[in-house]
């Protein structure tokens, strides 16, 4: 139990540093799509909600889990969709090499 939490803290710390280094390099040009993309990725919380619905341990956890799956899925679908739509619009004036 205790070691699982410590493991989690290590993962959190490392992922925080990776996030910091990776996101620092994102061009300010793309800050809006970056935010919608991280939002979609964040909706991976849906996995926790799916388990709640699937396990059906109590009526309350089932209902809360159900609503959570709906909310998170809408973020997944909407987030990826709008990020891709935005990125499609960014074009260079120099002809792309094929």
């Amino acid at each position: 139990m205790g070691s699982a939490l410590i493991d989690g803290l290590f993962v959190f710390m490392l992922a925080g540093f990776i996030g910091f280094e990776v996101i620092k390099r994102v061009s300010p040009l793309l800050h809006t799509p970056l935010m919608s993309l991280t939002n979609a990725l964040d909706a991976i919380a849906v996995v926790g909600a799916i388990v709640l619905v699937g396990e059906h341990k109590s009526q309350l956890s089932f209902i809360l889990g159900f609503l959570a799956v709906v909310a998170a899925t809408s973020n997944v679908v909407g987030g990826f969709l709008i990020t891709d739509r935005m990125l499609k619009m960014f074009k260079s004036s120099r002809p792309a090499k094929s």
Binding site: A4, P33, L41, V47, G48, I50, F66, T73, K91
Partner: protein, 465 residues
């Protein structure tokens, strides 16, 4: 049963591992527009793998309702993914709210399933998850409402506001600490949900539209942190990683926004923002401005070699980006070098202007960040300001008494000619007078951004014999 059980558990963990790699690559590929779409695909594949892997979870007995929920969620998500580009800031705020909503619900469900057998550390993380989740939920809804203009955009302030807000947060934290010490105190849990819900509302009340870029980034960061906390609670390393990535992304963006407005991070953290009051209102002497017509403006633009356009939120409000594109085309055709100067806090969220201009098909290599273009203004013939105000205010450099003193600005006043498209002489959002408008080299173009740009384009195309 045991070996089979452990086997499927390992498969799920390996799927999550692959998804984590894809998520990190996804953000890495966002570094440049060329690779950015690969980033979206990587993220999508990672997401599908993770959801599919979760369905293998041994404890799941009921699939029907999972698929129903997934279908309803997708049905809501599609229209949210198809909104107009001008509505992206409020859509983003809304999705922060949805993410936080999910986290809060899962946190609550886990609490009632597990209490009172919750070890102190786990309870502390759970409390953090629920507190951050619920304040982000209402805070983001408020922000979305302000951006959609269903709520007043003006800051609402009253005496002792910060005290009330911090007091509320304090009550929630105390309730959390009590729960850590007495995990059986079920009756306290609703307090820990409701109080932060109220706090979220009060937190956004004093914030005005111009501060939205910082606030949205901050809410982004909170949403990420609450998801990471949920990762601890449900024991999902993948979620911890995704939450940490989202949290650090929001954090970095808030820091960038703070720097671009010359505010300290703690100033923003403690909700004292949006309170830049018009203190410089006194000592108003009658100063003359020079105005010009579309015909005169187009003559000057056509004769220029280098033009820099400075877009601001006013351009988004007037939906003028497509007309601006026509202006860009007309001038480029005449051999004028046209670029766009983008201030980090122009608009209502980080990168807002870039998206609008990209939507209007303006090539992204024409969009130049503040630090890269500021040195070029002395060699610029015309700086054309469309719907931007405070980010061009030279008082930020020179006038120590100005509320925006020290804020980095676009040095448009160094251009040979400055043109400002503006509805009237009313001061901008922050209520700060802009000395730029009284310079000898400044021409005021009074009118609606869209129709004025349109008449300039009209003049330019009419002049080609």
């Amino acid at each position: 049963m045991n070996t089979e059980f452990a086997g499927s558990q390992h498969i799920i963990e390996i799927i999550y591992l692959i998804a984590s790699v894809l998520f990190i690559l996804s953000l890495k590929w966002m570094s440049a527009p060329k690779t950015a779409r690969h980033g979206v695909w990587a993220g999508e594949i990672g997401m599908i793998l993770a959801i599919a892997g979760t369905l293998l979870h041994h404890g799941i007995v009921d699939y029907k309702w999972i698929f129903v929920a997934l279908a309803i969620g997708s049905g809501i998500g599609v229209p949210l993914g198809l909104v107009q580009m001008t509505a992206v800031p409020q859509r983003t705020a809304l999705s922060h709210a949805f993410g936080a909503f999910c986290v809060t619900l899962v946190g609550s469900a886990e609490f009632y399933l597990r209490t009172p057998d919750v070890p102190p550390f786990m309870m502390a993380v759970l409390c953090m998850e629920v507190i951050l989740g619920s304040l982000t939920f209402t805070g983001s809804l408020m922000a979305a409402g302000k951006l959609q203009e269903v709520l007043p955009q003006r800051p609402i302030t009253y005496k002792g506001q910060n005290l009330v807000n911090l007091g509320l947060l304090g009550v929630a934290i105390v309730a959390g600490i009590y729960l850590v010490l007495h995990p059986g105190a079920k009756q306290l849990f609703p307090v820990m949900v409701v109080i932060p819900l109220l706090f979220g509302i009060f937190m956004i009340m004093p914030i005005g539209g111009a501060d939205m870029p910082t606030v949205i980034s901050l809410l982004n960061s909170y949403a990420g942190l609450s998801a990471a906390a949920m990762g601890f609670v449900v024991g999902s390393k993948l979620l911890i990683i995704a939450g940490a990535l989202d949290g650090s992304s929001g954090f970095i963006l808030s820091v960038i926004m703070c720097k671009a407005m010359n505010r300290s991070f703690s100033n923003v953290m403690f909700g004292a923002f949006g309170q830049v009051q018009a203190s410089a209102a006194g000592g108003k002497e009658e100063r003359t401005v020079r105005s010009a017509t579309a015909e005169e403006a187009s003559g000057i633009l056509a004769a220029a070699n280098r033009v820099v356009i400075v877009p601001g939120y006013g351009m988004a409000v007037a939906q003028a980006q497509h007309k601006v594109r026509e202006l860009y085309d007309a001038l480029t055709k005449r051999g004028v070098d046209v670029r766009f100067a983008i201030h980090p806090v122009a608009g209502r969220m980080p990168g807002h202007m870039n998206v609008l201009l990209a939507e209007a098909d303006i090539p992204y290599d024409r969009l130049v960040e503040m630090d890269d273009i500021n040195g070029d203004f002395p060699q610029t013939d015309v700086a054309l300001i469309i719907g931007a105000n405070d980010v061009t205010n030279p008082a930020a450099r020179t006038d120590q008494s100005s509320p925006i003193f020290g804020m980095p600005i676009l040095d448009v006043d160094k251009a040979r000619t400055v043109m400002v498209i503006k509805r009237s002489m009313n001061p901008g959002f922050a209520g700060i007078d802009n000395p730029l408008y009284y310079l000898d080299r400044t021409l005021m173009l009074f009118g609606d951004a869209k129709s004025f740009v349109n008449s300039i384009v009209h003049e330019l195309s009419g002049n080609t014999h």
